[in-house]
């Protein structure tokens, strides 16, 4: 293979053309995991598929664990790989990490556990109950269990409730490297294009759609209103005053404050839609919102909320909820007007977010991931300058210019950077959260005796209520018994004959 050179049986080099710093991230992705060629050849033999034998079902790799049981419909078991090439737990760390207890097994061989069992729980309620019983070591926090598990302080900080603290649970909070946004189809005649009218209309909508409120209502406060295309934790994201989107927020008293609806109405007037009236029809401007819907109860609440946001500036929102396949088709063909979508980072580089607004990535013309079909030559020029640069000051300056263009042109209403909360039992050693890499299991340590002890303590069955129930049932049946004997002795009434 051209560009690949073997050094020894376990090492090779790859030469790439030009600069491409993101290539390091590609190397860390699952599809770059080495697989023995014999395994690939073995599974390629005839009739293997008919016997459900394939690399996808019985994978062969070189990692710290091996998949010894693979039933994704019920349970998957990872056992320690005895042939793992070996890797020690880090010997040192920053003071902050050390204080957080992350450096718990320095220099020890990885993995630290012998077995990991993943059990499929489709429903949130049993999953949460079993976590509280100690049958699961880790858990997320679903909307159903949020109030039981999390207390939000007046400062907006998420903390464990006293009940959870008593159980010894540990809370980990992370901002996801992702963004949920509302996009405008820039090819659309009403909301798209480069005219001042359309831009001001988009900016007005960006103020009116109050994502701060959305986060509070629908995400239990687990998220941040996005200020640009780059989420927190990714190079290029700026905190504080300099990081605020000035078209939607103002900086007052050392904090960001959302612009008032008056500002949005002023922009609507400047755009030629005073009070949301379309001058062509004399009626409220009607815009179409294309959204994939599952038909669940949350959908209805979300869509009603969205309709109300647009109504605040006099726009009548026509909701075109469709199945996800149809939604994708509309996006590909450019038939959507306003839509919501999201993006999770493939790798922690701003290029992986800023390319979502890069002209040559336009979805309709080029089949790319620029779903808004945004096309600004200056943005594209800056993107070409930025994409292959190292993370230095110059790159930050270029990114700032690009983000400002995106904020000014408003092809998106920058929606939400979600936050994840996860809980771990007291017998799980602290572990440093990593929102990009999935291969952190090897660093996990469990205090098994403590787990067994607490599981037994928490789950000793209660028998006496059953005994009580049997006695109560017996008493309940007594009248039946008396009535039965009375009826047997009774003379048959004439009506029965």
């Amino acid at each position: 293979m051209q560009g690949v050179k073997k050094i020894d049986d376990y090492t090779f080099t790859i030469t790439i053309k030009g600069l491409y710093p993101q290539f390091n991230y590609w190397l860390a992705m699952p599809f770059f995991a080495p697989i023995p060629w014999e395994a690939e050849r073995f599974y390629a033999e005839p009739d293997m598929d008919d016997r459900n034998l394939g690399l996808g079902w019985y994978p062969v790799g070189t990692g710290p664990f091996m998949l010894s049981e693979n039933n994704p419909n019920s349970q998957m078991v990872l056992d320690k790989n005895p042939h793992f090439h070996g890797e020690p737990f880090p010997a040192s760390s920053t003071k902050e990490d050390k204080d957080s207890g992350f450096l718990h097994h320095p220099k020890q061989s990885l993995p630290l556990i012998n077995k990991a069992i993943y059990t499929l729980e489709k429903e949130a309620i049993p999953r949460w109950s079993k976590f509280l019983q100690g049958y699961y070591d880790l858990s997320g926090v679903s909307a159903d269990s949020f109030d039981q598990a999390i207390h939000i302080t007046p400062d907006g900080e998420a903390m464990l409730t006293p009940e959870m603290k008593e159980k010894g649970l540990r809370l980990t909070q992370m901002t996801d490297p992702s963004i949920f946004y509302m996009g405008f189809n820039m090819l659309d005649k009403v909301v798209g294009g480069k005219s001042d009218r359309a831009r001001k209309l988009r900016q007005a909508i960006a103020i009116a759609v109050n994502y701060d409120e959305n986060i509070a209502i629908f995400f239990n406060g687990r998220g941040l209103p996005a200020q640009g295309p780059i989420p927190p934790g990714i190079f290029g994201y700026l905190e504080g005053k300099v990081g605020v989107n000035p078209y939607v927020y103002q900086w007052q008293d050392n904090k960001r404050v959302r612009r008032s609806i008056k500002d949005a109405k002023r922009l609507m007037k400047q755009a030629g839609y005073p009070n949301g009236r379309d001058p062509k029809t004399g009626h409220a401007l009607i815009l179409n919102y294309d959204v994939p819907a599952t038909g669940g109860p949350d959908d209805k609440a979300q869509l009603n909320w969205m309709r109300k946001q647009f109504a605040r500036i006099g726009i009548s929102l026509n909701i075109r909820a469709t199945q996800y396949n149809r939604f994708q088709e509309k996006m590909r063909s450019g038939n959507a007007q306003i839509f919501t979508w999201g993006w999770n980072a493939d790798y922690p580089d701003p290029e992986n977010f800023l390319f979502l607004l890069y002209g040559p990535n336009g979805k309709v013309k080029h089949g790319g991931e620029n779903a808004a079909n945004f096309n600004n030559p200056e943005y594209d020029r800056l993107f070409d300058l930025m994409k292959n640069r190292p993370n230095d000051d110059e790159r930050q300056q270029i990114i700032n210019k690009m983000v400002n263009i995106a904020r000014h042109d408003s092809p998106w209403v920058f929606g939400i950077n979600t936050q994840s909360l996860s809980l771990s039992q007291q017998w799980v050693a602290p572990f440093k959260p990593n929102t990009i890499s999935q291969s952190t299991l090897k660093y996990m340590a469990i205090d098994v005796p403590l787990r067994n002890q607490l599981r037994t303590k928490w789950n000793s069955p209660l028998i006496w209520p059953i005994a009580l129930f049997v006695v109560a049932l017996g008493l309940l049946l007594l009248p039946f018994l008396f009535a039965y004997f009375r009826r047997l002795k009774q003379q048959a009434p004439r009506s029965m004959l």
Binding site: G56, P126, K130, Q133, N325, A483
Partner: protein
């Protein structure tokens, strides 16, 4: 009766063909082969080349019903519908879009479904008949009235409430059984107790009321009066005469569902984490795996038709006056 059965079996062919056409049309009205490929390949960075390759490998590159590029019979046979449907009639379900042998998966996943469905059927039948008999025995009394009110209360409560309440009470508070999960073999017993209990209790209301009505209807017939007149005890009248004659409509309801028992319960399996065939269908629909959806709909239809035939046969056994012709 043999002629009747052969005729019914022959009727199956057009019915199954119709069901197959309907399933095919409904599925592809919502999902195109391109959508299916995107779902399997992932939503990000999916090129048209990768989609075309996926379709070619799984035979989804053909036109749906008519192949204009072919002539003669091939224009019909070289279509997605023909290629994917014909083998079903030989019960060759092929492989799923994820590359799994569907027959093997069905054979593995039917046991967890059966381990819940069969005890629920037997236990539910027993409990419902006994309770209905009690109400019929104490008819027109306060006990009967209380029983009917109790049944209505049970019927009015949602199945979800029974499931969540059962998990909370028996699994979380009393800690007598696991809240959810499943293990194969003998270990499965502790996992299936709760879903069985929940299913039986949630079925008492509707089942007992229906059986009570059947028993009361029979109790007003002349042969019951004759039995009483000759001095038989009420218990003997009920269990030896009334129950026997009321079994005909009960059998109608029971036999028809016996073959489809192994199709599992969608809600129960999902909440109790049982890897049965109910969740197999749901997962396939969510993953747009047409091969599994088609196979399960076909199998479900076959079993339902067999159930109807068994019902007819059971009539002749329960009531000698009935003859199939």
């Amino acid at each position: 009766m043999t002629g009747y059965l052969i005729r019914r079996i022959l009727y199956m062919i057009p019915i199954l063909m119709g069901i197959n056409i309907l399933t095919f049309a409904l599925f592809f009205m919502v999902n195109s082969p391109d959508d299916m490929a995107r779902m399997q390949l992932g939503q990000k960075h999916v090129s048209q080349t990768a989609i075309d390759k996926w379709k070619l490998q799984r035979g989804y590159d053909l036109p749906l019903f008519y192949n204009e590029k072919k002539v003669g019979l091939s224009s019909i046979t070289q279509t997605l519908f023909f290629q994917k449907s014909v083998r079903l009639f030989a019960f060759d379900f092929g492989v799923s879009d994820a590359g799994r042998d569907i027959s093997y998966d069905i054979s593995q996943r039917m046991w967890p479904s059966l381990s819940i469905a069969v005890p629920v059927l037997i236990l539910g039948l027993f409990v419902n008949i006994v309770f209905a008999m009690m109400m019929a025995f104490f008819r027109s009394s306060y006990l009967d009235l209380s029983g009917v009110v109790f049944c209505i209360i049970l019927m009015s409560v949602s199945t979800m409430f029974y499931i969540i309440g059962g998990q909370y009470l028996f699994g979380k508070v009393l800690k007598l059984v696991p809240i959810s999960g499943y293990e194969h073999g003998v270990d499965s017993i502790k996992f299936v107790i709760l879903p069985i209990l929940v299913a039986v209790i949630s079925g008492i209301g509707a089942g007992s009321r229906w059986y009570r009505t059947l028993f009361l209807e029979e109790m007003n017939k002349d042969y019951v009066k004759t039995a009483r007149a000759k001095g038989l005890s009420e218990v003997r009248v009920l269990f030896h005469h009334v129950l026997k004659n009321a079994m005909l409509p009960i059998l109608t309801g029971i036999v028809v569902i016996i073959p489809s028992l192994f199709m599992g319960s969608l809600v129960l399996e999902s909440f109790f984490g049982v890897p049965g065939l109910g969740s197999y269908i749901i997962d396939a629909i969510q993953q747009q795996d047409f091969a599994i959806v088609r196979a399960m709909v076909f199998l479900g239809s076959v079993l339902y038709i067999i159930g109807l035939m068994l019902t007819d046969i059971s009539y002749t056994i329960a009531d000698p006056r009935v003859r199939l012709s």
